[in-house]
Subunit: 332 residues, 2 copies
DNA sequence: TTGAAAGCGCTACCAA
DNA sequence: TTGGTAGCGCTTTCAA
């Protein structure tokens, strides 16, 4: 196939017409006669001509590319949110660049720096943990002053003026806790392998609120992914527990594992409510009651809002809350 | 902050020097005196100057961007492979564009078309199922004739001349089957929610080979994610089963679920070997013996080979095989 | 040591 | 209906 990056200039010289004629013809301009248009389009097709996106980008100042900057993709929440984003974006003329920050401030800043100057038209970001901690948000401010559209989802920074999509985590978990209380659980503990993250702390707050309102004693068990089983074991050995709220996948699975080891029946002896993908929850025995964050919907919403902003169909800086819901199953 | 996309021209006019002087100074050219260099660099820093990547790309014909084109990211194999790729790439001057094909030929072709003309320097791809079926590989051929570097991993096309990273799935599963046979299992069935995929068929072949060599009868149960539990139930109700090889996460979890429902103990009554992420396997009760595809390593390898190719350090078209290994746990 | 100018591939304005 | 030319932001040769 006669290929290898043919450009307007070459097409022009083949047909003995000017570059601008070629350009106009391929853009179906009314200025060009149908006859030449046809010749040109045919030749272009023959040579499989594709306009050079980079040149287009330089010219127009827009690239029809958006960046999705998220901490990870191992996490089913972000994987599914990304899927939602992609579903929306891929139906448009836009493409997606995905950047993984691994919760690192430096990586996040690098990505914004690299992409802000000409490469993308806008950003969808879930702010990394380290950035939240350091409270240095100048890369976001710079993006805004560079007139990039910016949408934050899940992990948002209140003080940055941009569009935001969040979930009502705090409320959801506090309601879940109240549910357990109503069904007469007395020793409801919280188990978390993510209390190093803000999300974890937020959820813990919701738990504490509900527990304290009921006059009960909050018990918060935290560890990292590797230690979580041990931490729970140690606690259960020495304390009464009749319900666990598990803040993440590891904590959820750990609850089941330890319950088995201690011969505790779920939900009779111990109820469990956890965060696990909706796809996985039914496989647990008994099926796990989960708090569903609707990650796919959040992704779709974030993408839709960004697109509207890019096409100037919406005023900037909306805030949308996607309700988390309790998916009641057999474990509680 | 005085920002908003300052460029060489503006810097030049501020200092009353020429654009080329600015350019050279910022690139630390020896042609420029230290004095002016200093003035220029300082001004650039003050204005937070960042070179426009798009302009650079147009000029140089390279963008220092690579595309990763994979079917999905929900799947833990690809999620982790992507993580491996990112780990390598993010240490270099290159950035990554991630495209999700959802196993669609059209999406894959679109992505290649969009990115081939100037946007990326190379591709890492796991070929979509539909593409494998349709056997139309011209988008790969075009990329090659456009002089893009191309690395395929996991899902590769033999007839396309490019670098390839694969795993020895066939051998791994056939060895796993032999293991079961040696430990005296007689009714070893295969359970798959992915036999619509080539990977699934490949694994099935490995199973059949081992079973038939042992003079046993192969039993292949397939379904999709939603039907997999029912299919297994129906079979177990009416047939003896003392071992299951589960080809994917859903099939693996389904095996546990059904075993429980029928009061079959794992591994005594029924052994299970499955494909589940190494992170998840220990949470199952009993812990699941898995076939580990080393997705992270595959990703890293693919990325490393691509980089070498981009920097012309390696001859093209190597083929690397990353051995799958059996992670023996309690379920078999 | 500095600057002018061409050119990467494309579009759009203005002439012809 | 067509073509010449400028310019997007940058690098690089060649002159000054």
């Amino acid at each position: 196939m006669a290929r290898s990056k043919i450009n307007l200039k070459e097409l022009a010289s083949i047909l003995g017409v000017s570059i601008s004629t070629i350009s106009k013809a391929l853009n179906d301009s009314h200025e060009i006669s149908d006859a030449t248009k046809k010749r040109i389009v045919e030749l272009a097709k023959l040579h499989n001509y594709r306009p050079n996106k980079i040149a287009l980008g330089l010219k127009s100042g827009r690239t029809n590319t958006i960046a999705v900057v998220i901490p990870s993709v191992q996490n089913s929440f972000f994987a599914r949110a990304l899927y939602g984003i992609e579903s929306v974006i891929s139906q448009t003329k836009y493409s997606t660049i995905v950047c993984l920050t691994k919760e690192s401030y430096d990586k996040e800043v690098d990505n914004f720096d690299m992409l802000s100057n000409g490469v993308v038209d806008g950003f969808i970001v879930a702010v990394s943990e380290e950035t939240q901690m350091l409270k240095d948000f100048s890369h976001f401010e710079n993006a805004i002053s560079d007139e990039k559209s910016l949408v934050m989802f899940d992990r948002v920074i209140d003080s940055i003026p941009c569009t935001k999509v969040t979930t009502n985590d705090y409320t959801a978990i506090s309601e879940a806790t109240q549910n357990l209380i109503k069904s007469n659980r007395k020793n409801i503990i919280l188990l978390s392998a993510i209390n190093n993250l803000n999300v974890g702390k937020q959820r813990t707050k919701g738990y504490r609120k509900a527990i304290q309102e009921a006059g009960l004693e909050p018990v918060v068990l935290e560890s990292d992914r590797n230690g979580i089983v041990e931490v729970l074991k140690n606690h259960i050995e020495n304390n009464p527990v009749d319900a666990v709220i598990a803040l993440d996948t590891d904590a959820s699975f750990a609850s089941y594992k330890v319950a088995r080891q201690f011969g505790k029946k779920i939900p009779e002896d111990m109820a469990v409510i956890g965060y696990v993908s909706e796809r996985m929850a039914p496989y647990l025995a008994p099926e796990l009651t989960t708090i569903n964050q609707h990650s796919y919907t959040m992704g779709k919403t974030a993408a839709t809002l960004l697109l509207e902003q890019l096409e100037n169909k919406s005023n900037k800086n909306q805030s949308v809350v996607i309700d988390s819901t309790l998916s009641q199953r057999a474990s509680s």
